[in-house]
């Protein structure tokens, strides 16, 4: 068989460009929230639950959460002051409303400016996005908690929260 080299090259070029464009679209899409990259933050926030992307809540939320760690949704998650200060800085610097961020726009819809919501799962947009999930699906043994994003969003730990 004689395959013209030019069409092979052209084909590969198309595939490559498409992949590049799709990857970019994915990373910039509404379902992308940059994952936590800071080691102390991954360690401290990520030991009991997924280390939620800071762009899912505004800075005021993180500030309030970090001073109320002794009652963190019913658990004592308090940290030594040095670690707490470090984690707070990272979360605030990367919050949904931090300067120039666009990733958090979607989840901030309906959140009044200056508000400090604590549960990502109670944000109006989050609730709407998950209204098709049934009670039995939430109670499935592999899900069990609304904080368990990766149970359904398989690439959540990489920042992708697409419908699955």
């Amino acid at each position: 068989m004689n395959i013209p080299i030019r069409s092979v090259v052209a084909g590969l070029l198309v595939i490559g460009l498409t992949a590049a464009v799709l990857t970019k679209a994915r990373a910039g899409g509404d379902d992308y929230f940059p994952p936590v990259k800071d080691k102390p933050t991954v360690d401290e926030c990520g030991s009991c639950h997924m280390a939620f992307p800071p762009a899912m809540l505004p800075a005021a939320s993180w500030q309030r959460m970090m001073v109320e760690l002794d009652d963190h949704f019913g658990d004592n998650a308090s940290l030594d002051p040095q670690t707490a200060a470090h984690v707070t800085r990272y979360l605030v610097d990367n919050a949904a409303d931090a300067g120039g961020r666009r990733y958090g726009r979607k989840l901030m819809k309906g959140v009044p400016a200056g508000a400090s919501p604590q549960r990502i799962t109670e944000l109006p947009k989050w609730v709407r996005e998950h209204d098709e999930v049934s009670r039995s699906e939430w109670q499935h043994k592999d899900v069990g908690s609304k904080a368990n994003c990766p149970a359904c969003h398989v690439d959540a730990n990489d920042g992708y929260f697409e419908d699955d």
């Binding site: 009991c48 997924m50 658990d75 004592n76 899900v143 904080a147 368990n148 149970a151």
Partner: protein, 138 residues
Amino acid sequence: MTPTRYAIGFLCAFGLASTAIGGPRETLIDRYAAAAKAADPGFSGFSAARGETLHRTQHNTGKADTPACTSCHGNDALSAGRTRTRKPIEPMALSVSPERYKDAAKVEKWFKRNCDEVLGRECTSLEKGDWLAYMMNQ
């Protein structure tokens, strides 16, 4: 004994002693042992069996959803557990998770949180040492 021999003997003994007690885990255990001894002069060492009992008992004195250590860590110390949000917890047995218990501050942080969650109080040094003895024997 000549001074040289004496010095060699001392260095050998020192070397042996430091390999036996030098690791961060041993330092931590020693600290708990000293505290346990201070609390009870009759203290005669930690017990993996007591540690296992502590680990498995349904205490029901802390939070309702965590009556026992096994509520999150599971019944088998060699296998992974799961937090309340279903995030996996690496096995607690040292043989399966060889990196565990090296960082004293981390160990203390989790005893503080988890004893409070499960028992509704802090753990004693005796309990901490027993529990570590159990996990390090696993």
